[in-house]
Symmetry: C2
Subunit: 471 residues, 2 copies
């Protein structure tokens, strides 16, 4: 590979930024905003990384407008930071070198739904809930569901997933094609609408998860799924996190096509009870959902009940009534807010790791002991069918000692996951917070290939600089 | 992007090739072969492209040996052409500029099977059947099944798929991580064993389908599946290709989790009868397989029977007995040979395209009319659940007029698929034969990004030069 020493990047000259803002204002009028409130909102993070606001925010409406913005920024070497709904958790939208935040929230068209092909073409500002609202009448849905009502563009950029990934995959598996404005302003279409292809390099997957560092996504062709004929859902308490994990492994191994299988630890369950007033047992709990035919989901639920009992879990309480399911899954989806109920008034620093499922119980056990030893309040929720879990330390940001304790805990958590053949992030992405772990995870040679790609695609280093490989 | 004019590549100097062969012989002894027979075997194609043999073939046994080969070739700027089992169909292993064919057939270790994690780590020379033989006792299988007993390395390199893709995905979905020797001889590991990750650029998917043009795959971590508890399979005749396609669309839309749904047209069915002596009706036929529980596969088969009847198909004759299933699927897997039975003594020029499933009936109808008008014998078999189909014109290579007629037909076939928002290849790969269509499929800007990647990763252009983007 080429020389891998990261090139230093400084803020562009004030005059360059001023020229870009002037050019943008001529072109976009009041869709260019430089007010402090909007700038700070676009640079926020949900981490301990300080807010680093962009110099301006622009709200394009078309691919061509995005291309014009990028060309103007490239001409003046001013950074471009793509922005969806701002719900990313690891510091993706911060602007450490200033520049222009490109907010795609006005790109909200659902361009096409091809029901026979089970695909849809959308603009990046459409959120997952908006899309599912639109699809419902056609018996279709888009299964990827990160906690927040994120934008489809942001979800593609961060390779998001969620509770359905164990059955339906992640954004990597559900994006068929992208339209991308590249760092030189050229517009590329990464693939056709065909369900599979072997026609050259997989640019779709190169852009998915690139966090805006290789280009701005302006159109997404998504794979859809049919709303299942029947759904059953339920919760199942376990005597320990390990017993729950063992039941999960057996469930996956036995080929039960579970649609969702989520673990909440007893700390998180306490938060759920505080937040959602469900009065559930405060013990490690699996939340499950099965999709299929009436007979199929009944059979799946019964099988799972037998597996749970083998590991001391149960009773498995399951329901096929939509309102009961909704209540349960609302509680699961509200876990982020439920966690906050455990320690009102402080900030939550959510993070995630992912390990091979055979190591999940070890990783969770060690992590829970670590949390206790560190004196932190940090509930755990996991997409355990994939070996992926989140913890959400609740931290008083005004207490520097506590912040340091939290940082040290997350550092140990990541190193623990890596030592177990895992990854520093299963679905949140790298952002600013996980950059420091990429070399430990991938090794120097692999990171060097990533840098080579970044340099080749974005030689001016204007696309979300200071993220992922941070040239 | 950077300047996209392809750089001409000439054969390296005789002295450079001689130096490499001498260096390899010192290092590898009789594992370096320069005999005509072996060289020609490694440059074969199953197309009309003439055989372009490499200058020598080397048989490494470890990643380090592959790295040494690549470093030596890089030092002398001699091309490196990776070789698996040589079963690719579009001219992937030809050596248009000479160089060294790196035959991975002695890299056959199954390094690990992690049953709890449903993954395995294998060397590239392991074939899919060898792997499945090894896995059987553990109740696991690897679902990707291109027609040939291809090597796992070759399957990853060409982004192969097969009959199970509609349920289990393609190599893109079933490769978790790769070890790759890069064009400078560095060794990279693309990912961990975690089931999902958002930790940086997706190098796994960049290498999958890169056809040896970005590096040589020396280790593959594969996602495995549990052997289903029950399997049912059957065949269902239809009055027309269009009726069969309509039944397929309805099957997929209704969420029936079909494991395989394959179409053979009446011409291919004639070949199947000649080859396998099955005495089946010579009419468009769907071959199906369902995976699940005993009750589940019965339910799926019954539902499919109802759908087929709606479109005038049937009777749907299905069986759960293993020997009956094996006989049926053997006939399907032998389609390549069955086709040859239609016109003994000539060559088959197999190719594939893939379109959105809503366009499949149109694409097939037009293609069948085209075959007839062109006076060709070209049976059709398709992985129709994905909109992917193959045709296999049987061509007398000694008749230049007939070869030209076949080329013109394939040209029209590809352009038809592209006009229907499809791809020039769903699973065969680009090789030498589909390169000419990449610009029509992707557009100049997208192809330019592919060239930029190739140049960045392989600046000396030694990795399988003359393929995909052909700098």
């Amino acid at each position: 590979m080429t020389n891998s020493t990261p090139r230093p990047l400084a803020r562009p000259a004030e005059s360059a930024v001023a020229a870009v803002i002037e050019g943008l204002t001529q072109r976009f009028g009041n869709r260019v905003v430089t007010s402090d409130a909007v700038r700070w909102q676009h640079g926020h993070t949900l981490t301990w990384v300080p807010n680093q606001p962009p110099d301006a925010v622009v709200f394009p409406r078309t691919t061509e407008e995005v291309a014009d913005i990028v060309r103007l920024c490239a001409a003046h070497r001013v950074p471009v930071i793509p922005f969806g709904t701002g719900t990313s958790l690891e510091g993706h939208v911060n602007a450490p070198f200033g520049g222009i935040s490109v907010d795609t929230s006005q790109m909200k068209r659902i361009i096409a739904v091809h029901a026979e092909d089970l695909d849809a073409v959308v603009e990046p500002g459409v959120t997952r809930k908006e899309l599912n609202e639109h699809l419902r009448d056609q018996g279709l849905f888009f299964p990827i569901d990160p906690g927040a009502d994120a934008s489809i563009g942001g979800m593609a950029a961060t390779r998001a997933s969620g509770t359905n990934a164990v059955r339906y995959g992640t954004m990597k598996d559900n994006v068929l094609a992208l339209t991308v404005v590249m760092p030189d302003g050229s517009v590329v279409k990464t693939a056709s609408r065909a369900k599979k292809t072997s026609a050259g390099y997989d640019l779709t997957r190169l852009i998915v998860g690139s966090e805006g560092t290789l280009g701005i996504i302006t159109e997404i062709t998504l794979r859809l799924s049919g709303i299942p004929e029947a759904v059953s859902a339920g919760i199942c308490p376990f005597p320990s996190v390990r017993a729950a994990c063992d039941a999960v492994i057996m469930t996956i191994q036995s080929g039960l096509p579970v649609a969702r299988i989520e673990l909440l630890d007893e700390v998180m369950m306490r938060g759920v009870n505080l937040h959602s007033k469900l009065g559930l047992p405060e013990t490690p709990m699996l939340f499950l959902e099965f999709h299929g035919t009436e007979a199929g989901v009944k059979e799946q639920a019964e099988r799972f009940g037998e597996i749970a009992a083998e590991f001391g879990g149960g009773p498995f309480d399951w329901a096929t009534k939509a309102e009961d399911r909704t209540r349960l899954w609302q509680a699961r989806h509200d876990a982020y807010w439920a966690a906050l109920a455990l320690r009102p008034g402080v900030q939550s620093v959510a993070t995630d790791v992912c390990v091979p499922i055979s190591r999940l119980a070890d990783c969770l056990d060690e992590t829970k002991r670590d949390i206790e030893a560190a004196g932190l309040v940090a509930p755990i929720a996991g997409h355990v069918g994939d070996g992926n879990f989140h913890t959400q330390p609740l931290v008083d940001m005004n207490n520097p000692e506590e912040v340091e304790r939290c940082k040290a805990f997350i550092d140990r958590l990541v190193k623990r996951a890596l030592a177990m053949e895992g990854t520093c992030t299963g679905e949140h992405g790298v952002g600013q917070k996980k950059m420091q772990y990429l070399e430990a995870e991938h090794g120097a040679a692999t990171l060097d290939v990533m840098r080579t790609l970044k340099r080749a695609i974005d030689p001016l280093n204007i696309m979300n600089p200071g993220k992922i490989v941070a040239l």
